[in-house]
Symmetry: D3
Subunit: 291 residues, 6 copies
């Protein structure tokens, strides 16, 4: 089974976003509704849909050569795997998720120590136990099968739960008293696979193209023409990070600028470019950026 | 909080069927998409949506007075609760579900003993461990977060999984080698609640009406007229269980029969009734049956 | 155009419930998605879909002979029409709706008088103006095109809005300080149509059957057998309103009872009937009840 | 394969209605989206989904013992099959469908003879050819793969097409000039299967129960109490067809009537019953009627 | 509350298109299904969903600093607001909508004057009254709650109604006899906000970027290579409006052209460019165009 | 009717893909759900939706000037039409479909000759008859109205059926024993229309733009900067087919490359470009490519 990379795709909330990212990166994954073995248009890769919670376990044991999962579940399972790159694409935004300790709004609990002797419900049982053990706070940690945030105060005293914006916690009248961990998606590999040259090269190509596609989603291309006299002023408006490509035009008084820019800056930069003398400003979408 | 029954409704696959059964029984439960505290049109009851997996745990501890869950999860949690009645209404049919030990079709495993030293994936970890321990078969039991049936042979050697018809197992090319347990929905109560006369009476009323509604779904009413001369022949065709109500008619040669019958028998019984001299045979639907 | 009744069906939130009620009553109305002139399987009736807000206006002027609309809109338009019957079937429940005066939770307003000089947003402009004028409270009443409950405090000081349970008002942090009117669906008729014998008879038939169908939705049939010795005890358990039909059985020691009962009473009555000696208790659904 | 009836269920527009009718009749057919071999809860029957157009062909050849299809396709295929019963349940109504000859509204064609030498598009090619041949009118009949009613005048001169209400024809500005055939669903059997005693008995049971379920859908039960003095008047109001069951009540001045009635008559009969002295009039739904 | 712009987003048919336009322009608006206060990823802006009909009223009074609404509703309310720019993006197309006076196809009305003494139904009551008053034609104008186009002739003699293509009017057999107004979306501002330098600058930035995004939706980028000898011929084929950017290539006989073009012209221009000697013609999409 | 091209759009499985391709090519087709005459934003074209099976028949007869259909149906109808271009856009992929002869997996049939005397079901009756006649194999070919792949072995011995990946055949346990034809979408024209200069020019423009849009869907643009010293190495990495456009930059040591590339090659080429010294590599999407 040399020259075949066994790749785990996270089943569930990240699945569609992951498949979309691979498509942008250049690999088409076909996941029919029922099968857990999606096909991929690359004869060197074999895909399997695996729950994010179990991914690190199976990558560690070598049932998979590589996979995508959250850092939270790598830590929960204490898996010994190679971390290739972080990929910050979550369902709704690009922010990282947080695992927090939350208690009822009107409870007296203010800090982790206040929960000594209490019951904590969470999906992240092992991580939570280690966290409280490290602080020498005795608590009872119960596995929660879901809907964790509705449990306090009836079914638990506090919870350790994942959140992006905190809105679901607020809606359930819970108050965050501590952030235990921040987490984002990781591209991880089995240690033996990483030591194999062919597999490592394949994993690195995937990593480069996934990052190239991800970067292109938050950047845009910008072209404009500038009178040579205004060139410094216009360049001064651009973020310092990437210098633009400047090319001659038939009209010797003008040059053309072509640059890439973070999508979030465009609404501020374009008005300044125009004020500085930029003309014919055109923004165009990108598919990949590999600088 | 006397005169208030805290009732757990199973969240998830049984939720809609449970709410429908309560409606047939005479209680309307309004579950808005987001809230875990559905309202009910009975001031003496407070509802909470709880996962079937956790129901027995919370009924045992008294956070809930009573609830509905599968017998499988009562056993998994080894909860010390009062079993009031079985309610055989599952999503698709009225058959019980089974938890089975399944292995890949083409594997050499033929009986539980063959799995000594192997890895078994299941949602029912504690029950499975006890099962194999009782047989003195050493196995590694891993918790499965879902999609258990696709794990063999790549991610596990065998699984313990729930099934109604076995079709999902067959579709994943698995072979059943043992049935570990049959399970059906249980109406369970907290032991202290059961000892409280008001709560016990309320629970018994619920039990009577839920059973009455459930029975009505599998039975129908049948009315027909019979010449007195044919009465014995007609009665002979009816199942022996319930004797029909026979009433006089204005026409002294005839009587009217009114009876209830299992829905599944109707297609066989009506042709026989007609052959035996039944006339004006009318089947009508029932809403509750309390014999 | 004699012997043809022009009937207005309320377009919008009541439409499906109205058409369903007519079907239960014995008239099938076919409303294709686009047409405002649904067909009906009664050659003596012509239907038109009309907004509840405008129904009374067109019934008053005679463009329609009869129609269904809320009492609120009859009052808003001060229409001079004949009220035939109330029909309490709303989308969600059978309770009446209320039009209330609501203000921001944290505002100082406590009673209508506190709103002197303020702006009130409502869909029911004329009724609201008359209400405040009658109390000699000067206010500015603005027509609201919708989403009235989000307007205070930014876009209005208070609102007059319809509500069933108050939950939408609470969700928008509004406080009710006065109920201005309760409203339910009315079957109304044009005064000239009501004076025409053929039209009046047709309207009365509709009214009888609509009420018969509506009553059947909140009532059920109950049959049981009783030993003659227990008859008084069993009858004592039944609500006094409707005496049951009691018939002889072939077995001279027993009688059969057949009665109708409010759906909401069944869960209390059946356990009592059984305790009093009722046997073979069967509840069955009804399609129409005309006592 | 004795004691096994091979039954064809029509795939397509009639499929859901057919399965619903079988459920009412007492047989549950489970058709999963993809399989053409639905399961049925009767070990003596094997189902197969077959296009209505091909059903008669396969019943004739014995690949199926019995099946449901339209009379139109029996005639198109000139199949030599046994017709057991007509079953008038179509998707929208209970009226029969018609196959008509239709031409553009503004064309000069007035009768079949006017189409001599013209092109006619239809799905019913053989029947149409025979129809025109019998009249000695030479026409070109082309098979239409669908959307037949949009073909005139661009792609055909006339069409032979199925219609229930004619509304699709009118919408396409076509005019009917002749009705070639009326058609309704037929329960048909293979001639050899009909000669086999066991199969014939099975087919007859199906026929009795399908008809019993179908009749129940257009009939209702009616119960009322009548003072003996009013009995003749009340009976005079009922349709003559079925005499009611009259039973004694405990109160010797009254009798109870129980009868069945066409659903479409109820809205006229109930007001008359009440006027004639009927009391406690209750309509209830039926599931099967076998008189 | 300085440095905070209160911005009204039109609720309803324009809402999704408006939010999409803002996203193209560089602002992400998150409108959850229930809230009327969508969040926006710009700390300097506060959004509120407001009906287009009420927008101008609230911008005029200063409850909002700026907002988007149709010119029709600015006129209906006779609101004294600053008009910043027109934004021709409607749901279906980029054409303006028209408010027209329409009458039944077979009515005798031919011009506004013919409606003297008649009843006109419309949502635009005040505008319509002023229109007829200006012409000294006495009419009765009634507010229509919706479905205006089905009212003539039963419920009104004529209507004033909005239309894009006239197809809904034709479907209701109405005939347009006059166009009263053309309307398109306006970006409007409160007069005091417009006088505030910070708010004005913010509004102007929004206006520039909204227009830049809107223009990019109807334009494309075009790149091609041209032999210097063919340059004039190729340039002659391009629309005169925007001169292309011409740049040198390594091959001294060729130049590269880069230009933008209206999307609707591409299908005519590309064949001509190729015929004139253009090579390697590539069209690419644009995200913003600020010339 | 000169200067008007009558164009057939395939109704059914290809319809949406065809309309999307025309939109990419520069023509917007509006197909409302019911009408078979979609509008198009080109006054010189008239569209009609026609079944792919019938398209060639109507193009041949001149009812349509041009149309899109599969090569399979051109052959089935043996239509004498002009084939303008192939357009390989099918619903799921760009591969061609195949018509294959398939038999039950466990049948003894191995080659076409083995089917002598057997029954073959297919939608492609005439083509199949000619195929077997040419081989002198006597078979019975029956028209299949659909669901052809479930017919063997009960209803037919073998089938001739269309397939892309063979998965539906495998799912029905069928085995392919011969490929009779490969087919892809054809843009075809009536011979007289092709001889008319105006129509021919219009058809050629459509063909150029449809191909330009289709090519753009499988290609991308790639821009990068290269040190002059690395230029040969970088160019060596690019596929030989299209030479890149190379332009001077202000920095005399660097040049800019702009090229187009098959989408499927990008994931291999970008890593090599970077390794060869490419910098600032940017991939951007294309809308049309006309080389």
């Amino acid at each position: 089974m040399s020259n075949k990379l066994k790749l785990g795709i996270p089943k569930g909330s990240l699945q569609d976003a992951t498949i979309a990212l691979f498509e942008h990166a250049g690999w088409r994954i076909y996941a029919s509704g029922r099968s857990y073995f999606p096909t991929i248009d690359d004869a060197e890769i074999e895909c399997m849909l695996v729950r994010a919670q179990e991914m690190a376990r199976y990558v560690e044991h070598g049932a998979l050569d590589a996979g995508l999962t959250g850092n939270d579940w790598v830590l929960e399972n204490q898996s010994d795997v190679e971390r290739i790159t972080s990929l910050t694409y979550s369902k709704q935004s690009r922010t990282r998720v947080k695992w927090v300790l939350a208690v009822p709004e009107d409870s007296p609990f203010e800090k982790p120590e206040d929960l000594a002797g209490k019951t904590i419900a969470t999906e992240l049982v092992e991580f939570t136990k280690r966290y409280f053990a490290a602080k020498n706070i005795p608590v009872k940690v119960e596995f929660s099968w879901g809907a964790t945030e509705v449990k306090p105060p009836t079914l638990a005293d506090a919870i350790v739960e994942v959140t992006e914006t905190g809105s679901s916690l607020r809606a359930n009248r819970l108050r965050i008293i501590e952030t235990l961990m921040e987490s984002e998606t990781q591209f991880i590999a089995n240690k033996a696979a990483w030591a194999d040259p062919w597999k490592r090269s394949k994993i690195e190509t995937l990593s480069m193209m996934l990052n190239g596609a991800m970067d292109a989603q938050i950047q845009v291309g910008l072209m404009l023409n500038v009178r040579k006299a205004d060139l410094d002023k216009v360049i001064g408006v651009l973020p310092a990070l990437n210098s633009p490509t400047i090319s001659h035009l038939q009209d010797p008084d003008w040059v053309a600028l072509n640059t890439i820019l973070d999508n979030s800056l465009v609404r501020d930069v374009i008005p300044k470019l125009k004020a500085a003398g930029g003309a014919g400003i055109v923004e165009y979408p990108l598919s990949k950026v590999v600088l």
